[in-house]
Symmetry: C2
Amino acid sequence: MAEMSDFKAMPPVGIDPIGASSEGASLYERIREDIIEGRLAANERLVVTDLARRHGTSTNPVREALQLLRGEGFVTFVANRGARVRPIDQDFVRDIYEIGVLIEPALTRWFVNMATSEDIAELERLQGLIEENNFADTFRHSELDTAFHTVMYQRHYNRHAAELWWKHREVLRAVSRRFNFTLARRAAIIREHRELIALIKAGEADKAAELISRHVEGSGRHVLEQMRARNAARAG
Amino acid sequence: MAEMSDFKAMPPVGIDPIGASSEGASLYERIREDIIEGRLAANERLVVTDLARRHGTSTNPVREALQLLRGEGFVTFVANRGARVRPIDQDFVRDIYEIGVLIEPALTRWFVNMATSEDIAELERLQGLIEENNFADTFRHSELDTAFHTVMYQRHYNRHAAELWWKHREVLRAVSRRFNFTLARRAAIIREHRELIALIKAGEADKAAELISRHVEGSGRHVLEQMRARNAARAG
DNA sequence: ACGCACTGGATCGTACATTGTTTGTGAGAG
DNA sequence: CTCTCACAAACAATGTACGATCCAGTGCGT
């Protein structure tokens, strides 16, 4: 059973993704999933009574969930006119990736100087599972890849940065799940991960940071290309 | 009257700091101010009925305000045990500054390549007011300084990054308001702002980014030292 | 001294009242 | 006949009040 939880992506310790009331929490999660996964269209109105009916609760938990989502930026509010879905569009994804490019190298640099042999063993184990899976199960790949990077950022002293990274990651994971990996991207991921492990072992913090910068940027470019292609196909 | 609004710090366009219901909005703002300004102690319990009584409303707006604050990271929740004030301590401030050091240079680099002569005129005007004020009115300085940097980041295409910067800025503004500026820091601020304007004029994006990095880091170090000193004084 | 039931209180969920916005209809002007 | 404006009714968001549920701390009994 340890095997099962090994590749389930979990947030860095101390970062509580939910924490609301029992009912409110699941509501929050479900609405957020609906937004991220695209089941709720961009800019769609979120009518409180509708959501309450659909999820079988009263309006109050819905309102609280919406406020929480507002604080996290998934929903926009206009006074006396209710909530709307914030579009998870190319701009949104690009913004997130760009912030990742700025933050992740710093997290990585710290990790390289703090990595234990257990960390490296764990990274190699996960990398082994990633290569074993070899993108056959894309969902599993997504989980493993997230776990890989979580090992690196998990214990960083800057909890804010780690939390920010995790929140962004959750969005990107959901978005990229809609697409397949190109062969070029698959090769790049495997190659860069291996190179990264090597640099960590060698204690090359700056080079590792620089590599992560390229890694994140490449990942972002890949997803954005896919989104663009799908949009073009839809429009054509 | 144009003169009055000139030095009032305003968020970058399109970034709505409130947007809740009329009553709920002020509630949200008041509670947040109480947290940031330190009137609500770190880890203090936020009892819904108390807050409702104190602010003269019913419990529901309070609950929504708290959820919003949770989403923004100012309060923490434990299921069935309510909300607590997230401590605005040295770790918190350090985390925010470190993220600023990573993000602001990128925003600056973009601005240098996009700056118009109007932008530069506005920066020089604000810098003139800053030097004229010369830290006599620290509150005014804080507003002017925020306005100065807002000019630079306001129109950045990455709305996420700009919003992140603004949110952090609001916290730091409130925190630094508790302290005075050392003479060394005053000199550094004036000098770095002047140098920054010169670099922007010259179109030296990389150098400007590097300068901002030092500027933010210096600002962070200054505030953290003040916090540390006060804590030591309090403990002694 | 340790454990268990009880009590006090706060959170969480439901139902309802109020207020503001939107939309649809109709009359009048062009 | 069409367009515009005003008014009114429906609708949704916001605020209030209340009951149910869940925790924490206390005091009793062993």
